[in-house]
């Protein structure tokens, strides 16, 4: 029984208004870290490395950092921030007495999380472009990819939020799931040297597919499995979206 409607944009607008109001606090927090990774690892560590996968290390790294910044933006937004609004600030309770139903509230928060991914991913992409790390016009599709990654990860994070008893449980999610994804989705290094089971597990992760796509778009070379990768991202995102809304409804309307 999930009835998502266009009213979800009213919730999105609430989040956007809050974001705009606190813009000065938000921007640095969202972009500082991926930027540091790109510079410190890409140029610092990269200066000790030869070519990786046929390009300089920083060129190899930049497309992955774009994806990871999109991933973290949505993950943060739909775990800590959504939980805060749901449990502590009672924002959800305040909204569901209006014609905006719980499905729209959750969908609106997911849409907002995906928007944050779009913003973070695009900003990192712009930084990479300014540093001359982009080699193809295909790269103009990268913001779209960031949005898709955001949709996927926001939905997944909302699912985690729907079963979380408290803030502490998110550290499990981040430490046991998000961080390993960050390191084993081909962002920092190709997975060829690792045992087969790690490579296979990694191919099951939609983030690996997103990194493949991002690298292909930014470096202007074919992705290993372009259509399949897009399909994996989109289908898992859609399933997680529906599932998280259903779970959230069960948590909040009893």
């Amino acid at each position: 029984m999930s009835r998502v409607s266009g009213k979800l944009w009213r919730v999105w607008r609430r989040n956007f208004d809050s974001f705009r109001k606190y813009l000065h606090v938000n921007v640095l927090g969202n972009l500082g870290e991926p930027f540091l990774y790109l510079v410190a690892m890409g140029y610092g560590l990269g200066s000790f490395l030869g070519d990786v996968d046929g390009v300089s290390y920083v060129r190899f790294l930049a497309p992955g950092i774009v994806v990871s910044s999109a991933m973290f933006a949505a993950a943060y937004e739909c775990t800590y921030m959504s939980f805060l609004k749901m449990v502590h600030l009672k924002t959800y309770d305040a909204i569901i007495v209006t014609p905006v139903g719980i499905e729209d509230v959750v969908a609106g928060d997911i849409a907002w999380g995906a928007t944050k991914s779009l913003m973070s991913g695009t900003a990192m992409f712009a930084v990479a472009a300014a540093l001359g790390l982009v080699e193809s016009w295909w790269a103009l599709l990268v913001p779209l990819l960031a949005l898709l990654v955001g949709f996927h990860f926001a939905s997944l994070s909302m699912l985690v939020t729907s079963v979380s008893p408290n803030f502490d449980s998110f550290s499990y999610f981040f430490e046991l799931f998000v961080t390993p994804l960050f390191f084993f989705s081909g962002i920092f290094f190709p997975l060829d040297p690792f045992p087969a089971w790690i490579r296979i597990a990694s191919r099951l992760s939609p983030i690996t597919h997103a990194v493949d796509l991002s690298r292909a778009l930014m470096l202007g070379r074919p992705a290993p499995t372009p259509l399949a990768s897009v399909a994996v991202l989109a289908v898992t995102a859609a399933v997680l979206f529906r599932w998280s809304i259903a779970r959230m409804r069960r948590r909040l309307i009893r």
Partner: protein
């Protein structure tokens, strides 16, 4: 049951359970259009639960419920569009100012920007918060927050306003302000449902009340009628000494009066207490007072004088 039938909310055998706990155990009530209806009852009686079912945030476990002719299970959005809610828990949006809170709330209803701005200005004046329009919510006192919640609940120009303990934590002036505002809404034909733990408030603002306990409605009626039926016109209160306590029963036996004891205190209710009062003072009882019966007497008689749990 649209306009014309005169019934804003009707419930038949309404039940809500949380697992093994029965919060509302089958209640019947009809709330008329334009009236102010109060749910009274001790903590945990099921008042908030009943209200949440009315404002479509809690699905019922059993029974029938119609709000403005609509079924909350089937048409929640249709109902919610026409009701305003002032929740028991303060849940203002702390990211925003007073004025922004009202505007954003209006947006959830799809009210246009300009219209929302006009209503917000009007309602801030209505609850005397105009001066605070630009203040962050966290900078308000708790009484101001309650008043802002009332303004927020009116942003969609509801036909039915539901207020769960609207005057908790208000100073006497603010409380009188709220009472006055609720009366003004009456002129606009707005139906109001309130809960409160202040019995003098319920008697002041409610046309009718239902007294709940343990998930059931014990009685429903006009405050005056309930007082007359359950208590009488007057009450004599006294704190008797040991020897007075043993003598009192015999002394009042001849009068049509009823005695209740709560701790040290005796409450004797009667329709006309003057003869009994005269007798008691003649016999030398001390510390006796006579006063009109109140809704609080009804409440305590029906729901027990001692704190349960």
């Amino acid at each position: 049951m649209e306009a014309g039938s005169g019934i804003a909310v009707s419930a038949r055998g309404l039940v809500k359970t949380y697992g093994a706990l029965t919060a509302v155990a089958g209640v019947d009530f009809e709330i008329r259009e334009g009236e102010c209806f109060g749910f009274l009852g001790p903590n945990g009686a099921g008042k908030t639960t009943t209200m949440k079912m009315i404002y479509c945030c809690l699905p019922r476990t059993g029974g029938d419920l119609a709000v403005m002719g609509l079924d909350p299970d089937r048409s929640p959005a249709g109902i919610k569009a026409r009701i305003g809610v002032v929740p028991q828990e303060t849940n203002l949006d702390t990211d925003f100012t007073v004025l922004e809170n009202l505007r954003i709330h209006a947006r959830y209803f799809g009210v246009r920007r300009r219209e929302a701005a006009a209503r917000a200005a009007e309602l801030l004046a209505f609850v005397r918060l105009s001066e605070k329009a630009g203040a962050e919510v966290d900078a308000l006192s708790s009484g101001m927050k309650r008043r802002l919640l009332i303004a927020r609940g009116l942003m969609n120009e509801p036909r039915l306003l539901i207020l769960d303990e609207p005057t908790v934590g208000l100073d006497p002036q603010a409380r009188h302000l709220v009472w006055d505002r609720l009366r003004r809404l009456e002129r606009g034909g707005v139906t109001r449902i309130v809960t409160t733990h202040y019995m003098e408030e319920a008697a002041e603002i409610c046309d009718r009340v239902a007294v709940m306990d343990g998930g059931r409605i014990l009685v429903t009626g006009r405050p005056r009628d309930l007082i007359r039926q359950q208590i009488g016109e007057e009450v004599i209160e006294m704190v008797p000494s040991e020897e007075e306590r043993s003598a009192i029963a015999a002394d009042i036996a001849a009068f049509p009066a009823r005695v209740e004891q709560a701790g040290e205190k005796l409450s004797i209710s009667c329709d006309d207490c003057r003869p009994l009062m005269a007798l008691l003072s003649e016999k030398g009882y001390r510390r006796i007072t006579r006063r009109p019966a109140t809704l609080e007497d009804v409440f305590l008689k029906l729901t027990g004088r001692d704190l349960v749990e």
